[in-house]
Amino acid sequence: MSVNPRNILLFGLMGMALLLVAVLQSPTLALTILNMSLISAIMALGVNMQWGYAGLFNVGIMGFTAVGGLAVVLVAQPPVPEAWRAGGFGTLFGLLIGVGTVMAAVALWRRMAPGRGRALALVAVLVAGFALNRYFFVPAVDAIEAVDPATTGYLGGLGLPVVLAWPVGAVFAAAAAWLVGKVSLGLRSDYLAIATLGISEIIIAVMKNESWLARGVKNVSGLPRPVPQPVDMQAAPWVQSLADGLGWSLAQTASIVVMLGYAGLFTLVLGGLIWLAEKALNSPWGRMMRAIRDNETAARAMGKDVTRRHLTIFVLGSAVCGLGGAMMVTLDGQLNPGTYEPLRFTFLVWVMVIVGGSGNNWGAVLGGFVVWFLWVQVEPAGRFVMELVTAGMAEGDLKTHLLNSAAHMRLLTMGVAMLLVLRFSPRGLIPER
């Protein structure tokens, strides 16, 4: 960021807003918002890499964050030995067959000359692979899911420290993105968008319905934490003396300490990412990406391997989203495939990027903060507005109706706030230079 007074002012205002929340509402609320804002900023950064740098319209963010979240379960949850005994082998073998089939099919497609023979061979390989896969996979999965379905019914994870799951989440998302990119990066603008959207829906469908993997819609909760739980913190003597010293309640002190712990971790990650992103964007690499974004044909003619660069940035951006997804699941302490909805996990992140200013890392970060702040605070704001509106009204059906509908002011307020921000800075709060 060019150290520009306007930008500093904007970040300052954002900080002020959080501070106001801390004073007027509660410090823990401010920290809750801050922590999710940090994660949102990371996701926005990831999307900004794809859109802002390279012009890739990825609307599958939801899928990548979900895959990142899945990593937390697979890395940090304790394994379920009974499930492994019941069907671990069959599942893995079945999966191997699946992967093998696809690889064989791809190899076949590449090697054989086009024609009917190829098509027939392909179908034969696919059908045989599918049948084999079902043969091993289905009974194994049934066995796993039968192991105490109410609490486990899945294979569990590796029982490793949860922070390890963050890079793994990024790698998972990167791997998924690589596959998705191979398939769909040839598409342009909105076609790429719907393809990624579709693939992300497929990812969610798999996560919802394959309960041997991470319990599907039954959710995995109580995931390990990188920071002690507030309840446990309350027992720590230093927290107690801190609470005494500050004159705060013990619960509040413990919560604040814990949240600050998360905030520290998240800030560290975000800081590192911004550093990398800024250095990349302001280098010849960034220049090349912008050239590709502006005009692919010309970039190709100027010797840039657009396809490869697209794939790289797509994988990198998705990895960042996956990282954010893993961090979010860690913060929530649960993986809940049912919560992954495009509106919340894809479009909201997009709003962050655009409101913040696409193509500009600091813009995306600010967008993450501003939009998340709005998303959380429009609810009381909406209610407040509604109370204001109805204050002068006579008691009656209309007033009751309106007051009862106050919840819907939440999205309405969100819409109005978004339009206002975009109105005054159509290119985002911190536009690209």
Partner: protein, 374 residues
């Protein structure tokens, strides 16, 4: 002086059509208590609503955080969907020691969740209902059914439990297909269900969501004409929309043998609250329990409430029906014991688990007719 309770439900999002009624019911209980003037020496209750969104754990967490630390609520009626419930419980409620009673988180997973004695629910776990439903069907000699469930932890848990019991009892399930709520078109699901066939279609869903969509579609296309329904499907609205085609449908719903439910229906209707929507009864009970527990503790503190919920919910004591909360307050104020029965025959087994009886009903002449209680 006023005591604040949180009402955290998904006012926007997939179950936004259910939550207003749930909130109304809960607030009905709070109002009843406030109006009685007997609550903690004349204190009043102010319910504070917040949006759990049903799906966005982070937003729900922030909302709960706001209610607890900024608005100063002492107990939460809600949240609703299991995911956000778990998030609020583990990330906010436990940190602040605030008890919550969920009216609708029926996932068996909660039974074993460690909550420091802060999590309660008025809807029984699905595990038991699955068994009850299997019994009902087997007793009627229905041995082959198609099953559809709403694709969330409620539906999946219930259908798992049912499948297990039903198979153990010798029944066979031709197809066990999930459906997604919030969509309008269920022809594909019905097509598959119809093709699989079966004596009847078991629907574990919500009465004004996909469950209803599936049933209407199944009837109109002639795929099935008899149904068995889980608790989420029980509602007068369904009777109204489907009409006479619903006759012969059997179902189970948490219900007390006694007048609790009717009492609630009458009381709610009188106060202009829709009593028939899903989970309105559970919501009323959850709210009532919170307030009664505060009364029993003699103070409106989170810790006091948490410690007394089991106390007021279970025997021994004077049974308390919906609309009789004032009586309960009086007894508690006098140092007596109550056994809150409420609209759903509340019986809490411990934190995290509700017992309760189920009512087996059959639809006859466009009305739910009780067959037996189990």
């Amino acid at each position: 002086q006023e005591v604040k309770f949180g009402v955290i439900l998904g006012f926007t999002g997939p179950i936004e059509s259910l939550t207003p009624h749930m909130a109304d019911s809960a607030e009905l209980a709070f109002k009843e208590i406030s109006d009685s003037g007997l609550f903690l020496d004349g204190q009043t209750i102010t319910p504070v609503r917040a949006d759990s969104t049903c799906v966005d754990s982070s937003a729900a967490t922030a909302a709960a955080e706001r209610l607890i630390t900024s608005d100063g609520i002492v107990g939460i009626m809600g949240p609703d969907c299991s995911g956000v419930t778990m998030a609020v419980l583990q990330n906010v409620a436990m940190a602040n020691g605030v008890p919550l009673i969920s009216p609708s988180a029926t996932s068996p997973g909660f039974t074993t969740t460690e909550s420091n004695g802060l999590f309660f629910r008025t809807a029984p776990s699905d595990a038991r209902q699955g068994a009850v439903m299997a019994d009902v069907l087997m007793e009627r000699g229905i041995t082959s059914v198609a099953v559809t469930y709403t694709n969330n932890d409620y539906g999946k848990g219930l259908s798992d439990a049912f499948a297990e019991s039903y198979a153990a009892a010798g029944g066979s399930i031709t197809i066990n297909a999930p459906h997604e709520d919030g969509k309008g078109d269920y022809s594909a699901e019905v097509g598959a269900l119809a093709s699989a066939g079966g004596d009847l279609l078991v629907v574990f869903g919500y009465s004004d969501q996909g469950g209803a969509g599936i049933m209407i579609n199944a009837i109109e296309s002639g795929a099935f004409d008899t149904f068995a329904m889980g608790d989420g499907m029980y509602s007068d609205a369904l009777l109204e929309t489907i009409g006479s085609d619903l006759n012969g449908t059997i179902g189970t719903v948490p219900w007390s043998e006694g007048e609790g439910t009717e009492a609630f229906a009458a009381f709610a209707t009188e106060n202009g609250v829709n009593a028939e929507s899903s989970y309105t009864r559970e919501s009323y009970d959850a709210a009532a329990l919170l307030a009664l527990a505060a009364q029993a503790a003699g103070e409106a503190t989170s810790a006091g409430i948490a410690a007394n919920i089991l106390n007021v919910a279970n025997a021994p004591g004077e049974p308390i029906m919906p609309g009789e909360l004032a009586k309960g307050l009086e007894i508690l104020a006098a140092g007596g014991e109550i056994d809150y029965v409420g609209a759903t025959n509340v019986e809490l087994i411990g934190p995290g688990e509700a017992a309760g009886t189920y009512r087996e009903y059959i639809v006859e002449d466009g009305a739910f007719t009780t067959v037996s209680f189990r």
